[in-house]
Symmetry: C2
Subunit: 364 residues, 2 copies
């Protein structure tokens, strides 16, 4: 067993032949790790494990993943090599009834990948099972970041775009990936900079910033920028929200660590309360837009350049109305990158780049 | 050796008979742990260890601590029981040439207290020396905080005042302590809530929030509030600054974890650049005041109620002019709690409490 993240890139390039564990938690918000791997690494996913839904498909259960089967047992998949913890619960602890499944996998010699805050490799029972079988435990959030930000060596002609949110779990990672891929199709060199466990599993590198010691979060983000700024554009995965009662520190450390030229405000239409905290209402998009700009501008010129609406709960007609409402309310390009495609936000990124170039602030 | 913080209170009540190590770093900003222990725990301090200044006094060397001697060797103090790392360098690493001094202390059986990010108890050479002699290593920043904030059970009739800053190392801890003590003298039950290593060494409890994993910083602060809200007023020690390139995440996690009714903006007169980052200018007090209020009000009503000026670099006449200038610029009560006494800010706290009581928002 080990906790080495250095091989993520080569792992990602190979086929991890994954069973994704969402047992009893198979909804698209809690099981967002599962959904995102189904969306962006589908060829590596052999099955979803949820005993309550065995026999159905990932598409039926989670709305993504097409005909990937849902199974009840590890035995139901002949050639699986890896068990992935497919959920991201608040606080990051493993559900108690999952222990036997994880132990079973490790005992069979399957590697286990987890993005939980509770490190599986530090659990003596899991560690012993892994050592015995030769399986590897990969705690994606494990890190030893201990460098502060220095604000030195940042390339002005690499455009930095950060996705920011009204709340956590609204699709900031998806927006960053979709924009990065769209600009790549236009022959730009872009990089999706992963800052969370799911993004890291998809991209093969990154930093799990919400698990970095607070004093070093901006330093860890700055290192991601320095490492990747050979690209024309970085699309940096946002985390949490400046108005999130639990995670606003993570959001600000990320914002001040990456110094974005532009931000894209992401939200889920229809959500009224903070995810996981039903008594606490969300701040309005207008209020949040101002807060992000205020905080970003303490460090340098930056602005919200567009809104990414997650319309998964809406019908097409509702989505169309909502998009128009928000576009008018904020006076910004607005689209649902999944339903509408990212075109309107791609144009917003190009417009920003042209503005900066015209002012000589960014030379691309 | 160990890393148990649970006995800090009883330690604080006893006499730790401390030698404070500032060797080669004896300036009031870097050696702020030393200065604050000299100010608030002087009866426990036997000597300062700085080989370059041996023979002088703490008062001469650091401007605080009166006739406490500065020595060159541990041998120069007969009955010392504890060596304290007296500095707080960016990144929190021990200066390399201090290793022999720390090893010497541990080998003699002296306990070593450190507030560095680099945990001394995890250094195999230090740990071995401590184990051999029976000495204890106390890494004040060591913690295992893993709870998110929940926003439940917070008492509305306990007034929460947070000191916030234009920068780090401007005196936020001193202001919180002085205000807490001043209100105690008026028969209020108050508590200084320590959030940094020096405050914890002075108060005997608290949480080293800059060393908490980012996802849990607001949760750790919320627990401090819940634990201490039997008091009339909490004076919560601020950290960093919302505009600090390195530590703004810590500042926001603290702000959103303690939900202050009022904030006191602290700054050092004459400072123009970020501490330790001479190329980065400070945001203005007006800009920062607005930023703090914007971020606090995302969670609930809160405002800046006064300004604490640290005028240590000024003459009396300069200080008087500067105080008047800031009072006019921000339209807020302003004083240097050391030079002028905290009276004007005490009145500001009482005024806030009366305002809240009149509106029925806070029932004291």
């Amino acid at each position: 067993m080990s906790n080495q993240n250095s091989n993520l890139s080569s792992d990602a390039a190979s086929n991890r032949r994954m069973i994704i564990l969402t047992d009893g938690h198979s909804n698209p918000v809690t099981a967002k790790t599962a959904c995102s791997l189904l969306r962006y690494r589908q060829s590596e996913v052999k099955a979803i494990l949820d005993r309550n839904a065995a026999g159905s498909t990932a598409g039926q259960l989670l709305g993504v993943g097409d005909r990937i089967p849902v199974v009840a047992n590890l035995d139901d998949v002949a050639d699986a090599k890896t068990l992935v913890i497919g959920i991201a619960p608040p606080g990051g602890k493993i559900p108690e009834h999952w222990r036997t499944i994880v132990l079973d996998a490790l005992s069979r010699g399957m590697n286990v990948i987890s993005g939980l805050h509770e490190f599986l490799a530090e659990d003596s029972e899991f560690a012993a099972a892994a050592t015995k079988s030769g399986a590897m435990i990969q705690d994606v959030r494990h890190n030893s970041e201990k460098d502060v930000a220095n604000r030195e060596g940042i390339r002005p002609d690499c455009l930095r775009i950060l996705t920011v949110g009204q709340d956590c779990c609204v699709g900031k990672m998806v927006v960053a990936i979709e924009l990065s891929r769209a600009l790549q199709r236009q022959d730009q060199t872009t990089k999706f900079v992963a800052t969370g466990q799911t993004g890291i599993l998809i991209e093969g590198d990154g930093c799990p910033i919400d698990c970095v010691v607070s004093d070093f979060i901006s330093g860890a983000v700055e290192k991601l920028v320095l490492k990747n700024q050979q690209h024309d554009i970085l699309f940096i995965e946002g985390q949490g929200s400046l108005a999130h009662p639990r995670y606003s520190a993570v959001t600000l450390g990320l914002l001040h660590g990456c110094l974005p030229h532009g931000m894209i405000l992401c939200y889920e239409a229809g959500r009224t309360a903070v995810h996981g905290m039903p008594k606490i209402g969300l701040s309005s998009l207008t209020e949040l837009s101002a807060a992000y700009q205020t905080m970003a501008n303490l460090m340098g010129p930056s602005k919200i350049i567009g809104v990414a609406m997650n319309g998964r709960l809406l019908t097409d007609s509702q989505a169309s109305q909502e998009r128009e409402r928000v576009r008018n309310e904020l006076g910004l390009p607005t689209c649902d990158v999944i339903r509408d495609g990212p075109g309107e936000l791609v144009t917003a990124v190009e417009t920003l780049r042209n503005e900066l170039a015209a002012r000589g602030e960014q030379s691309c």
